[in-house]
Subunit: 556 residues, 2 copies
C-alpha cells in the first residue's frame, strides 16, 4: 500500500485562504481599514462576492440586513451571479429581487413569512432552484458541514473601528453565521446603525469581521411576536383553559416553548388569573425558551416566570428586559442578549412541552402550514415540536408522557416530549383545520419536492386541543384509535362529522378524549375578563410603562 | 381582573445582579483588575462561590480546568458547600474530591471516562446526588433553561488584561458555558497558561470574563482520540470493509460522524486503499462532524476529505490543521477552532450517518456502555445516534433509509438517519456483546435511577455490523424479525446460538442480513496491509511530519 515517506503532498491546501486574500485585495480600493462608505457597498460586493458563492444574507426571524440586501440586489449580474443563498429568513422583497435579477439562483432557507407566496411563484417559474426548507437548527448545523457560506452579510446595532459588533437584544443568528463563515476563510461584512468608540458589549469579536458599513437607515426589524390582546377570542381563551387544566397541570409542565399565535398568547394572559386560581403558580410554566412576548408581561410581573432564554428580541421590549435581569438573559452592559442557535437547542433538548398552532392537520396527526400557493417555511416548530430521541435526562412530565405512550408494551421504559397542537376546528375564512389530505402534498407534487412539507409528523404529536376538547394521542393504541381520537375533537368539519360515535365515546371513557366538562371547564366561563390584560395599553401599564409598544400597535 | 395602573411592582428584579456585585466586592481583595495570583485562587473561590451554587467546572471532553478544579477542592467546606456541579466531563480525580470533601453534593454531567467506576461507588455510598447523565447538547441546552451556572470556571491558552480569551483548537465547550453564565449575571473565572498583550484571536470576549489566573502549569489535556494503527485487528478491518461496501457505498453517505474506537479508525485507514479501489472517492465520506483523528490523515492527504468541523481538538494535530485550512475550520490567526455545541448540532442535524461501537446490545437493538460497576456517561453518542424527527432537508441516503423503513405502509413518505453500531460479537475478556438484558438495567435498579441508561435505543438503530455480517433493521417488519436479524449476526454468543436458523436464512434471502460473501468480501482479504498507515510513525510521515504525536504514542 501507498505509505509515503516524509515529504508533504504537492496539493494546495489553502485555496480558501488564497481566495480570501484575493478578495480582500480586490476590496481594498473601497475600504479604509475595515470601514466602507455606504456609497461603495455595491462595488465592495462586486469585488468580494464570486459567481457561485454561497452567501448568507442575514435574514433572521426579526432583524434584517436590509441595506446589504438592497446593495447585493444592485450588483451587476454579469459580475456576480449564480449565487447560492443560505439564509434563515427570506422575508424582504429584496430577498426575492436577487433571484429576479439573476444574481442568485439557488436557495436554502428556514422561514419565509410574508414572501411565502412570492417564493412559490418563483419556484414554479423556475427562477429559484430550491435546496430545502429547514428548521433553524438544521440550517445552522449545515453551515458547518455542507452549506458553509463564502460570504456572510450580517447586521449589528453598532461597531467599533476594530470591527467588534454589538447586536444587543437582537443577537439572533449572527454569532453562528459569523463563526461558520470566518473560520472557513470566508468574508464577513456587517451593516451597522452607527460607529462608536467602544461597543457596549462584544457580541461578535472584531477579528471575525472584515468590513463594516454604517447604513443610511437603522436596520429593519419586524414586531413579529406582538399579539394585541384585544384580538383574542373567547374560543381561544377556552383553548387556553383546556391547555392549562388538561395538560400543563396534570403533567406538571414547568419548562416549555410555545408558538406565537393568539391561542398561546391567551395562555400567557390567563396564567395570572385562571391558572392562579387553580393554585398552579410555581408548579407550571416557570422556565421558557421563548422570545420576549409582550403578552407574557402580566405573568412575569405576577411572579410566575423564573427564567426566559430567547431566540431573538421583540420591538419595544428593550427597557423592560433591561429592568428584569432575574428573568431575562442580559449582558454585562445590562441589555438583553439572544441567541437563536442556543435557544433552539434549548427548545429541543431542555423543555418538556411544545405547544403551537397550525393550518392543517390530517387523520394521522400530521400538520402543515404550507398551502397550495405558499411555501411558508417552518422556522423552529419542527425542531421544538419533535420528540428528541437523544434526550437522556428525566423530568416528571417527560416520564409521565413516556409511561402513557408505552402502555403495556414490553419495551424499555423511556420518556417522551409533550408536543401539543392547539387549533380551532375552522380557521380563517372558515376553512377546516382537519383534512383528509394536507394541501402540502399537492404542493409537493406540483413543485416536484422530494417529500411533502410537514411541520410536525403525527407520531411526534402527543395532544391536539380544539374547542371540542383534548385528544391524547399518547393513549391511542392503533392507527384507527388515533384517527377516531382526532375525528372526535374535529367539530363540524367533514373529518369531525365522519367520526364513529360509539368509538369516540369509548375513547372518551378511557380519557383519550376529554371534553371541557370532563375537565370541569364550563365554556361559558371562557370570557375575555379572564385575560390579565385586554389591550396593548394594559400590557404597557403592567410593565410600569417600561414596555414601549411599536407605533402600529398604539391605537390610543 | 387585576389590571394595574402605571406603577412598577415593588418586587426586586435584579437579585442576580445584586448577588453578582456582592461577590465581586468580596473578591476585590484578591484581584488586581481582572488578574488574580495563583496563590489567591482558593481565597477568591471562597469569596465568590456561595453554598448551593450551580458551578460549571470545565471539565470538557479534552481540556481540563485542572488548576481551578484543585483550587475548588481546597476551599473550606464550612464556607463553600452543597455545590451543584454541572459539567460535561467528570474525568479528573479532583472532580470526585469535591464530593468527598463535602464541597459539592449534586452532579449533572455527560461523560465520565476514567472516573466511571468512582462515580458509581460515590453514588452507592450516597456521596453524590445524581441529577442526570446527559448528552453534551442537552446539558448545554439546560444551561439556558434550568441548570444555568452561577459560577463558571473555564480554561484558555492565554488571555490579555481585558480578559479576552484564546482557547485555540480546544475551544470546545467554553463559548456556550461562558455565554450561559455571563448573561445570567454569573461569575466567570478563567485559568490560562499565559498572559499576553494581545491574544492571537478572541474566542471569548473579555467583557464576559471576570477573573483571569495564570496557572502554575499548562492545563491538562488528554489525547483521547488517538488510536494507534498498530493495534487494529483483522476482525476490525473486516468490519470496516463491511461498513464501506455494505452501507457507505449503497446509501452514498457523504456527511457523517463516527466513533472513536478501533473499528472506526479502521474505516478511516482503508478509505485510501479498499474504498479507493472500489471507485468510491468523492462519492462517500467527504464531510465530517468529527474530532481531528490522526488516523484520518491518510484519507485527508489522499484528497478524500472535503471538510471537517470539530467538537474539540486532538493533541499533536495543531500544526497539521493549521497547514490544512481547506479541510479544517481555522480562525483568522490560522489555528483551528472547535466548538462542541455547534458540532454536536451538526452531528445531529447535518449528517446522514452515525457509526459507533458499544459494549452491549440487547435483542431489540438497545445498547449501553454502562456496566454494573461503571456510570460511564454517553457523551455525544445518544445525540448523533438518534433519528432527528425535526430534520426537514432531504439527501439521498436519508431518503433511501426512509423508504426502506416505510416499506409498504401508507404513512407519509419521510427520511431517516442511518445509525450504525459496529461491534465484534465478543468484546474484552471474551464477554459477549449481545445479551438478553443490558447490565444497565441492573445498575438502574441498584442506584434507583428513573430510567435504565441506554446509549442508543433500538428503534433508532438502522444497522448492526459484526464479523458475521450486517443486519439491516430498517427492513425488519416485526419485533420478531428484528430479534432474529440481531441473533443472525451475533455469532457464537448465547444470543447468536439461539437463532431460528430457518428464519435467519429467510432474512438473508431478503437482504435483511448480509454476510461478507453476499457483499463480495472475502474475510481472508481483511488484512493489515489494507491499512494506509500501520503505525503512529506512518501517520506522522503521511502528514509531512506536521503531526506531532504525543510522547506516550512514540515508541520508536
Amino acid at each position: 500500500m501507498s505509505n509515503r515517506s516524509g515529504s508533504p503532498t504537492q496539493r494546495t491546501w489553502d485555496r480558501t485562504r488564497q481566495s480570501r486574500e484575493a478578495r480582500l485585495a480586490a476590496a481594498s480600493a473601497y475600504a479604509r481599514g475595515k470601514l466602507v462608505a455606504a456609497d461603495n457597498v455595491t462595488k465592495l460586493l462586486e469585488a468580494v462576492v464570486r459567481p457561485g458563492d454561497r452567501v448568507c444574507l442575514e435574514g433572521d426571524n426579526q432583524k434584517q440586513a436590509d441595506f446589504l440586501a438592497a446593495s447585493l440586489a444592485a450588483v451587476d449580474p454579469k459580475i456576480v451571479n449564480d449565487l447560492h443563498i443560505v439564509q434563515s429568513g427570506v422575508v424582504l422583497a429584496e430577498h426575492l429581487d436577487l433571484f429576479e435579477a439573476g444574481v442568485a439562483k439557488r436557495l436554502d432557507f428556514s422561514y419565509s413569512g410574508p414572501q411565502g407566496g412570492a417564493i412559490a411563484r418563483a419556484l414554479k417559474a423556475g427562477k429559484i432552484e430550491l435546496g430545502a426548507v429547514h428548521t433553524y437548527l438544521e440550517l445552522f448545523s449545515r453551515y458547518f458541514v455542507d452549506l458553509t457560506p463564502h460570504v456572510a452579510l450580517t447586521v449589528a446595532r453598532c461597531a467599533d473601528r476594530d470591527g467588534n459588533l454589538y447586536m444587543g437584544p437582537n443577537t439572533e443568528d449572527s454569532p453562528v453565521v459569523v463563526e461558520a463563515t470566518a473560520f472557513k476563510q470566508g468574508i464577513v461584512i456587517a451593516q451597522v446603525n452607527e460607529l462608536v468608540d467602544r461597543v457596549p458589549r462584544v457580541d461578535v469579536p472584531g477579528d471575525r469581521v472584515d468590513f463594516v458599513i454604517v447604513a443610511p437607515e437603522p436596520f429593519y426589524i419586524e414586531p413579529l411576536f406582538t399579539r394585541d390582546p384585544a384580538q383574542i377570542t373567547e374560543t381561544q381563551i377556552l383553548g387556553a383553559m383546556l391547555a392549562i387544566k388538561g395538560i400543563y397541570a396534570p403533567y406538571g409542565v414547568k419548562r416549555l416553548n410555545h408558538g406565537i399565535g393568539f391561542n398561546t398568547a391567551a395562555i400567557e394572559l390567563i396564567l395570572p388569573t385562571f391558572a392562579e386560581r387553580l393554585g398552579l403558580k410555581g408548579k407550571i410554566a416557570t422556565h421558557f425558551a421563548l422570545n420576549p412576548h409582550p403578552t407574557l408581561i402580566p405573568a412575569i410581573e405576577s411572579g410566575w416566570v423564573e427564567q426566559i432564554h430567547s431566540f431573538g428580541s421583540e420591538v419595544g421590549m428593550d427597557d423592560y428586559m433591561r429592568a428584569r435581569p432575574d428573568v431575562f438573559f442580559t449582558g454585562r452592559d445590562g441589555s438583553m442578549g439572544s441567541n437563536r442557535m442556543y435557544c433552539q437547542s434549548a427548545g429541543l433538548y431542555a423543555t418538556d412541552l411544545f405547544i403551537g398552532s397550525t393550518l392543517q392537520i390530517d387523520l394521522a396527526g400530521n400538520s402543515s402550514t404550507f398551502t397550495k400557493d405558499r411555501v411558508a417555511g417552518f422556522g423552529g416548530a419542527p425542531n421544538m415540536g419533535s420528540d428528541p430521541h437523544g434526550r437522556r435526562h428525566a423530568s416528571d412530565p417527560w416520564l409521565q408522557a413516556g409511561r402513557e405512550a408505552a402502555g403495556d408494551t414490553k419495551a424499555l421504559p423511556r420518556g417522551r416530549k409533550l408536543v401539543v397542537q392547539i387549533v380551532e376546528t375552522f380557521g380563517d375564512k372558515l376553512s377546516p383545520t382537519f383534512v383528509e389530505e394536507l394541501d402540502s402534498l399537492a404542493l409537493a407534487r406540483s413543485l416536484d419536492l422530494p417529500l411533502p412539507p410537514v411541520m410536525i409528523y403525527g407520531d411526534d404529536v402527543s395532544h391536539i386541543i380544539t374547542e371540542e376538547g383534548i385528544a391524547n394521542l399518547l393513549l391511542c393504541r392503533t392507527p384507527l384509535e388515533r384517527e377516531q381520537a382526532i375525528r372526535g375533537i374535529a367539530g363540524y368539519t367533514d373529518v369531525g362529522r365522519a367520526r364513529d360515535k360509539r368509538m369516540v365515546e369509548e375513547l372518551r371513557a378511557r380519557k383519550v378524549i376529554q371534553r371541557p366538562e370532563d375537565l370541569g371547564i364550563d365554556p361559558l366561563d371562557a370570557n375575555r375578563s379572564l385575560l390579565a390584560a385586554r389591550s396593548i395599553k394594559e400590557l404597557m401599564h403592567w410593565s410600569g410603562n417600561l414596555y414601549d409598544p411599536p407605533a402600529k400597535f398604539r391605537n390610543w
